[in-house]
């Protein structure tokens, strides 16, 4: 019996592992192609090991297009995703404390409104938003991509509320007895305790902003302002594409920040999804 269980166990691991490799095969293929010589990419599709290993694709691809290199695109993406993430996380934490701990008039109404916005299709908002940003002369600036983030994001507010609700109320109460006000309680008591939730929110926010395509597509139409995702789309234009190796190389690079976040903070991401359960 024990032997049979052991054999089943081995079969389970082999099957799970093989299926897992099949699942990520497109990613492996993409990485391996990025190190193959251009002539080999389509003739040696059957093997993941490059016949002649080369980093030429990365050097060529990094040069970008229209005299703008990928250094610029990466810088732009880091600015948008970095500032946007700081703005979202700070504002969401402040709002979350208000909803989670302070009893005030009309709270239920606003909380419900916020939850409804989670289900709202972005399409009903983008046209007037575009007109609004256009009127402000914000086209071809990062403002439309960054400024709205400073007003909290319903998803992260909800995530942080859930976390605050798990903290014992006595903490707030004893601080109140000691004479602390709401701002003091938030700053000295709550904020240090919700760090894990803030990390989860930062990771998701960075990852989604990094991946965002529609926003940059709408608001940025100068190559010097392109984010990586928008640049990659133009770089891989099917009508002009000749250097597939470079496209693969830049595709791999564009995924690097997200993959690194995933490798180092996997727990925060997977648990974040499991507990708040959304998106993605």
């Amino acid at each position: 019996m024990a032997k049979r269980a052991k054999r089943q166990n081995i079969i389970y691991h082999i099957a799970t592992f093989i299926l897992g490799i099949i699942m990520i095969y497109p990613l492996l293929w993409m990485i391996s192609s990025s190190f193959k010589e251009n002539a080999d990419i389509f003739t040696t599709m059957g093997t993941l090991i490059p016949p002649k290993f080369t980093v030429e694709n990365y050097i060529e691809g990094w040069k970008g297009f229209g005299n703008v290199s990928f250094a610029t695109f990466f810088k732009n993406s880091f600015i948008v995703a970095g500032i946007g993430t700081i703005g979202t996380v700070i504002s969401s934490a402040i709002v979350a404390y208000g909803f989670a701990r302070i009893p005030f008039k009309g709270k239920d109404l606003w909380f419900t409104a916020m939850m409804i916005t989670l289900m709202l299709p972005f399409q009903v908002q983008i046209i007037p938003q575009y007109i609004m940003f256009n009127t402000l002369n914000w086209i071809n600036t990062f403002y439309p991509l960054i400024v709205p983030k400073f007003f909290g994001s319903a998803f992260f507010i909800f995530l942080i509320i859930q976390f605050i609700r798990g903290l014992p109320l006595e903490l707030d109460e004893s601080a109140e007895i000691d004479g602390a006000g709401r701002i003091g309680i938030f700053w000295w008591i709550i904020l240090p305790l919700i760090k894990p939730a803030l990390i989860t929110a930062s990771l998701f926010s960075f990852y989604w902003t990094w991946d965002d395509f529609l926003g940059p597509l709408l608001y940025l139409n100068q190559a010097t302002l392109y984010t990586v995702s928008l640049a990659l789309k133009n770089f891989a234009d099917p009508t002009t594409i000749t250097n597939w190796g470079a496209v693969f190389a830049m595709s791999v690079l564009s995924l690097m920040p997200v993959l690194l976040i995933f490798i180092f903070f996997q727990k925060y991401l997977t648990e974040g999804i499991a507990t708040t359960g959304m998106k993605g």
Partner: protein
């Protein structure tokens, strides 16, 4: 109102003010504005002109709009169920707590992590291209490949497969749900002689039904909003078979600058999504099992 209540009211609104202000500027105002715009003709350059319900009538006659509805419904009602079934199957596969469980979870979540990116969309176009990976593999097996992206009956399936491949998030949610089901239920069922499939139908599915409902609603909403992949991989073609709602709306609003018409489209989408969300909630009475003592 005593002093403490007043203090809390002031502080409450102070703390939620970032969201509240943002809500009025970036959500409520745009929603109302887009409803009003839906009754106008507006090309951004000249001021909007009131045209009454013309836009809404036009929706009834616009063949391309009907194509886009067809493509979107086809996509949502194949990709969402397939993705959820797949997510559930993988979640069941990964349920045992082995030493490698964390690693497996990571590997199986990877496609979701990267699947929505432009990079994967670009690669996908290559994978399903005439001289792409899929045809290469088929060729090795002696099967003649197809022009997957150029063929009206297969193009949408390249996008459906991409969507199903991103099963990671519902999978993780299912996995968390599966771990909540007490082992004692399965043990009791085994004693009663219930085998695997019976246990799945009589225990796993009912116990998991609240999670299924949640996943279903979120995935339907996401499904109706799909944009990036179709924009990059198929650009709506061939013959409008992948002209998803968001894509057509984008073309109308931001390429031909028919903002009024596009706003009407946006509102119809809002109603479609509201309808299906409500339907899922209403129907849940018949198939979602709520444990009384948990009472969320």
């Amino acid at each position: 109102m005593n002093k403490r209540e007043r203090y809390n009211n002031v502080m409450g609104y102070l703390f939620i003010s970032p969201w509240l202000i943002g809500f009025f500027i970036f959500t409520l105002f745009p929603i109302i504005a887009s409803f009003i715009l839906a009754f106008t003709r507006y090309d951004v350059l000249s001021p909007p002109r009131w045209i009454g319900i013309d836009n809404w009538f036009r929706l009834l006659e616009d063949t391309r709009y009907h194509n886009s509805l067809k493509a979107t419904f086809y996509y949502v009602f194949t990709a969402v169920p397939l993705r959820l079934i797949f997510a559930l199957l993988v979640a069941m596969l990964l349920k045992p707590s082995t030493r490698l469980a964390g690693l497996y979870r990571g590997i199986y979540y990877l496609p979701s992590l990267i699947g929505g990116s432009v990079a994967v969309a670009v690669v996908w176009r290559q994978v399903f291209g005439s001289e792409g990976l899929i045809n290469f593999i088929l060729g090795m097996m002696g099967i003649k490949g197809l022009n997957w992206l150029g063929n009206p009956s297969t193009a949408i399936w390249t996008l459906i497969i991409l969507a199903v491949w991103q099963f990671g998030s519902p999978m993780l949610i299912f996995l968390a749900g599966l771990k909540q089901i007490p082992d004692s239920l399965y043990e009791a069922a085994s004693i009663d002689g219930a085998k695997g499939w019976d246990q799945f139908i009589k225990i796993t599915l009912p116990m998991l039904s609240p999670v299924i409902l949640f996943n279903l609603i979120m995935q339907i909403i996401n499904g109706f909003m799909v944009f990036t992949q179709a924009y990059i991989i198929t650009s709506g073609g061939p013959l409008d078979t992948t002209l998803f709602y968001s894509l057509y709306l984008y073309q109308k609003a931001f390429q031909s600058f028919e903002m009024g018409y596009a706003s009407a489209m946006a509102w119809v989408l809002l109603m479609i999504i509201a309808f299906f969300t409500a339907l899922a909630f209403k129907s849940s009475r018949f198939w979602v099992y709520y444990e009384s003592e948990e009472g969320k």
